[in-house]
């Protein structure tokens, strides 16, 4: 989706404000983190659906409400979409409908094992990778109307396959209930001059670069030299 979350290359947001190792600014922020992780662990939705819920908030909200309010709004949206709560229940904090049976409810004594195990997204696929390290590829001109991990700033640009990561779950389908449909995933190196033009390519001294992880369907074999 062409949204405001896809902000790579914009310069209108002012300076970065470094800060000490401070994780939470308000006590409720950590509660939102806990709620989002605990509900994620129920397996009702996947990580790509969570990302889609957050990035498809109204743009003025996404840009102004702050990180953990985005998580909170995304969580409420997912709870409603999956009919785990009703709008009336959200508003009143009172149960009005019987609970839905979930795949799992995470217990405290399972937390460490579940977090340490993580959830690999690497999958076996029958086909060989279409591209190999060192090969030139051009990013397809795809404007997905739903979730994608193809950032706008690399569209139509040509880079070099730097690394073949393996076959990974494809977020574009996984986020919209169309399954994992794993594809080969590549790390692609784009020169800074290719992406931003020679005048703006100020990536240290000499020729800098931006590396982006791209699924196979984002790419085509390049027929030009970058």
């Amino acid at each position: 989706m062409n949204g405001v979350h896809d902000m790579g290359g914009l310069e209108c947001f002012g300076p970065v404000r470094p800060e000490p190792d401070e994780m939470f600014h308000e006590p409720w922020e950590k509660e939102v983190l806990g709620l989002a992780l605990a509900m994620g662990a129920t397996g009702t939705w996947n990580l790509d659906q969570s990302r889609f819920a957050r990035e498809s908030l109204p743009p003025e909200q996404y840009l102004s409400i702050g990180y953990y309010r985005i998580w909170l709004a995304g969580l409420e949206k997912l709870l409603l979409e999956h009919e785990l709560v009703t709008p009336q229940e959200l508003a009143s904090a009172q149960i009005q409908e019987p609970p839905v049976t979930l795949k799992r409810v995470l217990a405290a004594n399972e937390v460490t094992d579940v977090l340490n195990a993580g959830a690999s997204v690497e999958r076996q696929v029958p086909n060989q990778p279409a591209f190999s390290t060192g090969e030139l590829v051009t990013v397809n001109n795809i404007h997905s109307s739903t979730h994608t991990r193809l950032p706008a700033y690399i569209r139509n640009h040509t880079g070099v396959i730097q690394r073949v990561h393996g076959a990974h779950v494809f977020p574009d389908t996984h986020a919209v209930g169309e399954g994992e449909q794993p594809q080969w995933l590549y790390n692609v190196r784009f020169s800074a001059a290719e992406l931003w033009g020679h005048d703006r390519a100020t990536h240290g001294t000499g020729e800098g670069a931006v590396h982006v992880d791209c699924w196979e369907s984002y790419l085509s074999r390049a027929d030009i030299t970058p």
Partner: protein, 214 residues
Amino acid sequence: MDNEPDKTSAHSHSHHDHSHLDDTALRVRSLQSLLIDKGYIQQETLNTLIDTYENKVGPRNGAAVIARAWVDSSYKKWLLEDATAAIAALDFTGRQGEHMVAVENTPTVHNIVVCTLCSCYPWPVLGLPPSWYKSAPYRSRVVIDPNSVLADFGVTLPEGRSITVWDSTAEVRYLVVPERPANSEHLSESELASLVTRDSMIGTGFAKPVSSLT
């Protein structure tokens, strides 16, 4: 454009009054009690989740990985070839670190990590991301003008270094291996680890100099 507020950072709420903050706290509390009453989550689970990321998992994990790489060249080689396995060997595994890649800073290349699309970050080795990492100014500008972002951190690169920016668009998470500080040959692994900062493992800083130990 520098007077624009940092709109997605948690510092951006000067325009919100306190009642707004209280509203959010109340909304979170209400949601929590609703979800507990529904039987979807348990209070003790929430406490454990928060405690894990507030107190147990953090950049000291990553610092241990870096210090090991500095003192053990075969470990460093392994880390650069298969970071997931090399980091797991030090018992740092799990959520948001299932697929790790380590990238090494050298006298000619400086690496910086970002997630332009959201906030992907290697939790098992660095903990939760700082606010600036998740903020619009960092996510947007570091890919086009990393020099100016480093300047926001007070960092100037020595001459002769090009910058490579790693945009975490998939479930692969990147860890920068900063350069070992000069004149640190005599230091122990744990002393070396104490020189490794969070920002040096993101690429927005360097490891601290040996003189900082005294």
